[in-house]
Amino acid sequence: MMSPAHYLFLSFALFLIGCIGVVTRRNVIVVLMSIELILNAVNINLVLFSRIFGDVSGQVFALFIIADAAAEAAIGLGIIIAFFRNRETLLADEMDLLKW
């Protein structure tokens, strides 16, 4: 096994990339995907520490995160479809109904 710092660094890099995606992309679907990436980065940490401490709890929480991600994706995409049906756009900066 590699040293934990390697894994931490990997997960940190993925987390950062996810953040960049969330902040910079206009397409809502890609924003959602970036959030999935962030969740995965967190999962790596959980699994890593589960392995280090020889305790399976970390993996259990990773499972919960996957379940949450599924719920989030389903709801998020549902909202996107509903929104697309009304406004025919998927761009985050055009979703400004509440600005008035």
Binding site: I81, F84, R85, N86, E88
Partner: protein, 380 residues
């Protein structure tokens, strides 16, 4: 048909996601448009919102050719219209010209014509059944159907030497006498065929997938049929008991007993059942006819040169696909002044849009199959 699509376009936002509708171009090269039919489908997801048929890829100008040929010379051309039912086409044309000439065809010739035409009806329906089943996804019935059709084509070949475009009849009667063993061949075919039909019934009629794919698909009410001019099994499946063989008997149909099967719902399943029953009835007609083929001449009093008096005539017969009409205008020369043909496939094809709208893409092929069109006849 074109304007219907424009009508739909005027109601925006009726699609799945409000995005542009998908226009799917089916044909002219497509495995199940039965030739070179091109159908533009306007889809919402998989649901058909409108259709537009584009025809004419097989146009050969048959009607125009008629104006430059003598009456006899034109006879083989009609075989090339509905090429899976060439004998029926020939019968219609010959009878139309005979009616124009006002000649009487001997009874023996008429009976043999009836037998061959009914065999052709079975063959045509077999092609329909095989391809229709193939379109819906049943692979095997096609080969069974073609096996039986092969027997019929062998009889044609023995009779006149040709299998597909037979040119079996001549104006005034028959050129060839029935060959030795003709009755036995037909009898043997009819005997086998009873069993074979049972095979198709076993494979399809009670099959729940088949019923699911055909019931309530492409429904046409009797009023729709009449308004659109749909004839043949399509009209009868909608519950209208109209068959020219009974209504205006031609050839020797008045001599034989047979039933006209009709349907109730006018859906694809009913059309299937009607055509299956028609095959059984045709078999019965053949059996009755070969029992007693009258002796006598096979050619009426028609000269070498056919020169009808000026005038016009309309004659129609019940071809396998519906009413096939010939409207011939004579100007007293050896060539017709104008021949107008009413092909059943062309008229029936009009019902396509009415039948498909609101159904799924998969139903398009089922409906095209159930219309039993032959593009040679649609485009002429």
């Amino acid at each position: 048909m074109a304007d219907t699509i424009q009508n739909d376009a005027s109601q925006p936002n009726n699609t799945l996601l409000g995005a542009d509708e998908l226009v799917l171009n089916m044909g002219p090269q497509h495995p199940s448009t039965h030739g070179v039919l091109r159908v533009k489908l306007k889809l919402d997801g998989e649901r058909v919102r409108g259709t537009e048929c584009v025809i004419g890829y097989l146009h050969r100008g048959v009607e125009k050719i008629a104006e430059n040929r003598t009456y006899q010379q034109f006879a083989p051309y009609v075989d090339r219209m509905d090429y899976v039912a060439a004998v029926s086409n020939g019968l219609g044309y010959c009878e139309a010209v005979e009616k124009l000439l006002q000649v009487e065809v001997p009874i023996r010739a008429r009976v043999i014509r009836t037998i061959l035409t009914e065999l052709q009806r079975i063959a045509s329906h077999l092609v329909w059944l095989g391809t229709h089943a193939l379109d819906i996804g049943a692979l095997t019935p096609l080969f069974y159907c073609f096996r039986e059709r092969e027997e019929i084509l062998k009889i044609f070949e023995k009779y006149c030497g040709a299998r597909l475009t037979t040119h079996a009849f001549r104006i005034g009667g028959l050129q060839y006498e029935a060959y030795d063993g003709f009755e036995q061949d037909v009898a043997r075919f009819c005997k086998d065929f009873e069993r074979r039909i049972q095979d198709y019934v076993d494979l399809l009629t009670g099959n729940s997938i088949w019923i699911g794919r055909t019931r309530n698909v492409g429904v046409l009410s009797a009023a729709d049929c009449i308004a659109l001019g749909a004839t043949g099994p399509i009209l009868r499946a909608s519950g209208v008991k109209w068959d020219l063989r009974k209504a205006q008997p031609y050839a020797a149909y008045d001599r034989y007993q047979f039933e006209i099967p009709i349907g109730t719902n006018g859906d694809t399943y009913d059309r299937y059942m009607v055509r299956m029953e028609e095959m059984r009835q045709s078999r019965l007609i053949c059996l009755q006819a070969i029992e007693n083929i009258p002796e006598g001449p096979i050619f009426g009093k028609v000269g070498k040169v056919i020169k009808p008096a000026p005038g016009e005539i309309y004659h129609s017969i019940e071809a396998p696909k519906g009413i096939l009409g010939y409207y011939i205008v004579s100007d007293g020369t050896t060539q017709p002044y104008r021949v107008r043909i009413r092909p059943p496939s062309f008229v029936n094809l009009q019902a396509l849009d009415k039948m498909i709208r609101g159904h799924l893409v998969a139903d398009v092929v089922a409906v095209i199959g159930t219309l039993d069109i032959v593009l040679g006849e649609v485009d002429r």
